[in-house]
Subunit: 331 residues, 2 copies
């Protein structure tokens, strides 16, 4: 089978040239497990730091051999488990950038793609959606009257944050994204009240003019600087969810921290979020979010390419923030 | 009457020489208000930054004229309010460093000092106690099984934090303080399980050896560095209350912030605390904490001096962290 692996160990922000496409042995179906033929593979920002050994203490995959971490969706083609039948469609946490994944039965969550493109199970109905749902509903407790801000708003997590907040009754929803194209997507397709382009001059002042002293919920995907800016626009007792620091994963120097006095002055509440902790609430997440996706109330754009050989280039675009919407590869 | 005022406007950490004792006009009892003859005046760390105009945006008192901010306890000697009688004992928020305070009736909260030294209404049953109570019970929600850490543990706020946590069923209570004398007080008199002397070599390693990965609640009085150290010893989903930054109030350069990635990795929850927000829960605070004080379950040492003329020296000791226990002046 075809598989993409690291060409060499790396200690920099991954580039397309760091990967290579190889011919690997097609794995056997494991005892009590399943063999899944992957149809879609997810590209996620955290993988960039994972490949450098900077994510949650996990070792990077061995160059030339081990699978690149990545979730995927596919069809069961062999099953040695009573819970799965050939033909079942499944979401696979440890898919890898390859054509086939051999996993234990509980590593292939059966999904119902009826009427949906399977790729939504990598975005709004996959880990990004769960991340957004956990932050908005389980930590920040977003609800009626809230004024919400999220950065990386054109991405899958950020886009879901705003749309889930809206579905929960948030009064106003604002985004931050890089570039006019992303901001237009966030406003027109995702339905945010406004999206601020952090590459445009004066954007922080425009944001403040719109929301200063009124923000009650913020979701952070990007950096401490963005978080500090959001906090400075908080009303008292606002809640911030700290999820990702995509702009800092590849920084050479340790970035500045959050000003403690600002948290005190704003009486803010900050929540650290690691999505793994919420896997056991998957069914509750699906019960709430799947109807939004099916009705069209929640939509996420895709930065999609065809064929495994396209994965390195898609991933480089993601690392550069050049993707618009959820980055994925269809096989 | 005697009164202590600023000798000149200052922009440094206040020293005793920055104050002077003057003879001022004894104020009249205001319409609908009371005149209180003060018996005890509180000295608090936040006043140091207040005098420099660095506290919550409030202007410093005018040198040579205006009262130094400070809470006090005293006896009503004149009343033009139906709610207060001559002889009532009252806690006065805007007392000042002077012999008499003329305040509106609702600025003099009647207290029941029966069987207690009035000075406890400036520590465990005053603003420091309310601060600790709010942080432990209203924000962190401390309870059975919690492992609690607090710094400036020999002070009134820190001492109350640990003892209120214990009364609420915390499993283990730890303190950080500067010097062997303070640590001995915290362990022997306040009953903490251990107190770590941050002036002693290797103290942070000793703290980690005792609590690493097990702390569930922290209360911050001192600095971002201390907070970061506490967070690094957290178990997942620990709660930190951010209350004061006494070591940073007089720093010339902006201090480092809190590392955002640490908050995420620990799934920590941080709460900013401003005690003013909890004045309306004063009765609930008294219902819970006064019995602890009366029974002797909660005790706070005092760094006490006699006579208004001693106030500047007591305050300088407080600014240097040389006080042991609650700093106050008895008139």
């Amino acid at each position: 089978m075809k598989q993409v692996v690291l060409r060499h160990a790396i200690d920099h922000k991954p580039r397309a040239a760091d990967f290579e496409l190889i011919e690997a042995e097609r794995p056997d179906c494991p005892d009590s497990g399943v063999l899944v033929k992957l149809s879609h593979i997810s590209m996620d920002p955290y993988v960039g730091s994972r490949l450098r050994g900077r994510h949650m203490g996990e070792a990077p995959p061995q160059a030339g051999v081990e699978a690149i971490p990545g979730h995927g969706v596919g069809e069961v083609v062999e099953s040695r488990s009573e819970t799965h039948a050939v033909g079942d469609v499944a979401y696979v946490m440890e898919a890898g950038w390859r054509e086939f994944a051999a996993v234990p039965a509980d590593g292939a969550r059966k999904i119902d793609p009826e009427g949906l493109d399977r790729s939504v199970f990598l975005s709004s109905l996959g880990m990004p959606g769960l991340t957004a749902w956990a932050g908005m509903t389980q930590l920040a407790g977003v609800g009626e009257g809230d004024m919400v801000l999220v950065d990386a708003a054109a991405g899958a997590v950020g886009g879901c944050v705003g749309q889930i907040a809206r579905a929960r009754g948030a009064a106003e929803v604002y985004g931050i994204a890089g570039g006019a194209e992303k901001c237009a997507l966030v406003e027109r397709s995702y339905g945010f009240d406004a999206c601020f382009d952090y590459k445009a001059e004066g954007w922080a002042d425009q944001l403040a003019a719109r929301v200063a002293g009124r923000l009650s919920v913020h979701f952070e995907n990007v950096s401490t600087d963005m978080l500090t800016l959001a906090l400075s626009n908080f009303k008292p007792y606002g809640r911030a969810v700290l999820c990702g620091l995509a702009a800092q994963y590849h920084a050479d120097a340790p970035p500045a921290g959050i000003p403690t006095g600002l948290i005190i002055g704003k009486r803010a509440k900050l929540h650290g979020l690691v999505v793994y902790d919420f896997y056991d609430r998957w069914d509750r997440f699906m019960d709430e979010v799947a109807p939004l996706v099916r009705s069209g109330a929640l939509t996420i754009a895709e930065d999609r390419a065809e064929g495994l050989e396209a994965a390195p280039a898609v991933f480089e675009r993601l690392m550069d923030g050049a993707n618009v919407g959820k980055a994925l590869v269809a096989l």
